[in-house]
Symmetry: D2
Subunit: 282 residues, 4 copies
Amino acid sequence: MYATLLISCPDRRGLVAAVTDFIFRRNGNILHLDQHVDAEQNIFFMRVQWDLATFEIPPEKIASSFAPIAEQYHMSWRVHLADEILKMAIFVSKQDHCLYDILSRWRSGEWRVDIPLIISNHADLQHIADKFEVPFYVFPITKATKAEQEEKQLALLKEHAVDFIVLARYMQIVSENFISHYPNRVINIHHSFLPAFPGAKPYHQAYERGVKIIGATSHYVTPELDAGPIIEQDVTRVDHRDSVNEMIRKGKDLEKTVLARAIWYHLHHRVLVYNNKTVVFK
Amino acid sequence: MYATLLISCPDRRGLVAAVTDFIFRRNGNILHLDQHVDAEQNIFFMRVQWDLATFEIPPEKIASSFAPIAEQYHMSWRVHLADEILKMAIFVSKQDHCLYDILSRWRSGEWRVDIPLIISNHADLQHIADKFEVPFYVFPITKATKAEQEEKQLALLKEHAVDFIVLARYMQIVSENFISHYPNRVINIHHSFLPAFPGAKPYHQAYERGVKIIGATSHYVTPELDAGPIIEQDVTRVDHRDSVNEMIRKGKDLEKTVLARAIWYHLHHRVLVYNNKTVVFK
Amino acid sequence: MYATLLISCPDRRGLVAAVTDFIFRRNGNILHLDQHVDAEQNIFFMRVQWDLATFEIPPEKIASSFAPIAEQYHMSWRVHLADEILKMAIFVSKQDHCLYDILSRWRSGEWRVDIPLIISNHADLQHIADKFEVPFYVFPITKATKAEQEEKQLALLKEHAVDFIVLARYMQIVSENFISHYPNRVINIHHSFLPAFPGAKPYHQAYERGVKIIGATSHYVTPELDAGPIIEQDVTRVDHRDSVNEMIRKGKDLEKTVLARAIWYHLHHRVLVYNNKTVVFK
Amino acid sequence: MYATLLISCPDRRGLVAAVTDFIFRRNGNILHLDQHVDAEQNIFFMRVQWDLATFEIPPEKIASSFAPIAEQYHMSWRVHLADEILKMAIFVSKQDHCLYDILSRWRSGEWRVDIPLIISNHADLQHIADKFEVPFYVFPITKATKAEQEEKQLALLKEHAVDFIVLARYMQIVSENFISHYPNRVINIHHSFLPAFPGAKPYHQAYERGVKIIGATSHYVTPELDAGPIIEQDVTRVDHRDSVNEMIRKGKDLEKTVLARAIWYHLHHRVLVYNNKTVVFK
């Protein structure tokens, strides 16, 4: 068993010493330590993992023991225990490649996560949810019903105690209200190397522009469309021989991989968000 | 000795057969043939190289012999002979990495090209031109003098019979009039993966946005800033540890490589432009 | 409907003209044409696709009509019609990531292919075959039973008229006799950038050697282990923080993608094999 | 001004706390801290940089002040001050691309380093050394003269107080005796993705094998050929159209970039060597 502590705070002398000393004095052994200072903004970030086998503070009291140090240094912080299993909801529409990929990774044991439910605005992918035995809920969305349907979705998510949400090519814009319930906990995959080609039909835009590289971007959702903090991106080469359909085909592999990496970072508490950017400790 | 024929025209049946038959009947041996059809726009593109050793038409008559076929199929076309050596002018400002790279490749024999002159709006890089023994001309540019200075530059370029121009981090926007003298023959390097981050300070923009990948783009210059046909792009990973200065440092290697590839494609007559895009035959 | 013609033969003058003329005179319209000459070995390769809508030779007579030309130029050749659907058998052992990926691509319609059966030397992945409703056959292999079991596998493959075989992390070496029934039609995925780290436990070897990049290689199986013609490779970065298990995790994504690309090229008749190498027309 | 401390030692509890406490108590501010534990070998690695502006120990006494801690934890360690400028010797033969690249980076101020001399076994590149005004020494090498010439080279290197050596496509194998004077301080660039294609003519080997990716590897030189600790690698795609000469041309860009990155890591004290592998703190 180990604990993971994530910290951000104004930078000042002695921060690393204070935290490592806290762990060391109670006989904890540091497994990984990453820190970063944004020198321009004067912000300190840290992620530290330590073994609890010999640690003298019992797991349930770590947070309260650390609180005084956190207060002294004005830290934003959270601590995670390794045996905690997050609950992830998946939102989809009609495209199935990301859904297949996520469910396959989950079933093959690549990720330790619970997937209590899949939500969609269409019934098309019900059969995949069935294959993998995950409850599937359909909430058709029109302009008129959107607010109401989102309330029902939120109720369902609370009921299942969902920790974070993955929009796996969900073709609806989620409202500011919805997002406010899961700040930095709604992960989207956009099929372009943002900030190029935000919004609709990015592969068509890429084709029109004649780019030689296409990409995919996974980010936390914020009220501004495709403008949230970027978690991960990747790209692949295209050339004049690639039609829009070819770009879509090649892009699917990018989307799957980039989204999977973003989920993996999130699951392992490797992402800190600030100023609409991320620190991803690898 | 070999010839390279570049063709674009409306697509129709029999185009490849007509061209290859022209070469074959006169006893030419095809070395490379690439063709492409933009199925959406119904445009046909072709690049074919053939050996002139046994070809029965003398080099200087190839163009006139091919003209009737070209007319019949409404082709845009040009033919290049392998012994032709293009003349390339380089424009720079204060950044030296692309200039060093270009001159090194040239001096080490990687490219067959003449570099009759370097033009700059600053005197800073004179010492590099001297090292490599290339004439260096300084044309300081202000808003008031720009039109006049460009006329002088154009006169100098004509005088040296320059075929194409490379803007190797030249920090001036060249005018529409200037470009009109070298359509699809002014190659720029922009330090972002366009269309993301056009205009000034792209690395600062990239840093602000928190992207996980930065890039460089080489394109033909058109009147619209950073919006011309893209010849080549490449990218590299960055993360939260990369300050703007680190991005600039990493980006320099991208800029050098991407610009060098674009120049290489241009020198080898591998680029065809249409609809503000390029076909690059590799 | 369209036809795809694949050719290799000794290079000589007039090859492209002869083939395109064959298509043009019968009123076919070329959609794609790729050719390549191995100048060192003097071998000519060509892949040409043309529209059959207006082609005056009926599909079933194309082969016999082309045969005289093929004979004249000593061509190895084959012609494929677009409505043909290949039958692919999958061999697996205990690792499931490639199997999930292949079945997902197939079910989502990314590939036009039939998968009549999955063969394994272990029962572990039966549940995945069941999910995707593909017959699953278990042939446990020991040194003593190998020859006999392979005979049974071959009988089953014949019975299902299988066209080619994918070893999706099948942890058995298939015999020379077995391979001889499917020359250049058994596709393997090896989890290293061959020729580095052939044989067992390549990620352990990579970790030991301290490489900064790991890879995956898909190749046609030949009697010499991991030494067949390479169809596709890709790589990803690792560093000192990556344990063997991390390399295995990152490598899985490579393996899936590289194998899927190799299958796609094979399915689309884009691969020609010669001298233990491949020409892959993209 | 800042200091950089590099440590490796057997892993045990309290190491990070001990080091950060040392810095904190004397009023130093940590700028960067990276640590890594090889869990398999139980080895701890650390690189920490701190600001000396307010640090209460004068630079010249840092080492002696830290020594007791180092002793207590059985550390291998070294400390570097930011104002130290390393002396780098370059060895070349006839290929000029890496030499041009290194000298250009140096002259443009990308690297803070002194280059007191260039050594070659041929006179061919003298003109480049002259351009960049670096003394150039020729030591022709034959089997008979090798030992003697190396002694002269070593004497010259000592005379110039050279800190480390870069073999920039130096086509001689340096002897075990020579290497022993610069352990982990002779950086080589090999033109393949090692361990694939060690030894002579790697591009020819790659062409023969039909790989779809070629690479370059920079490593510290050890007595076993091309088998030393890898510092950096990179790759680029090739296909059947790439002749050996094309691979060589594409590979040159890789070699330049990979070698430059390795030099940069070395110059910034980011590399720790153990078990014939490297930890490169980025």
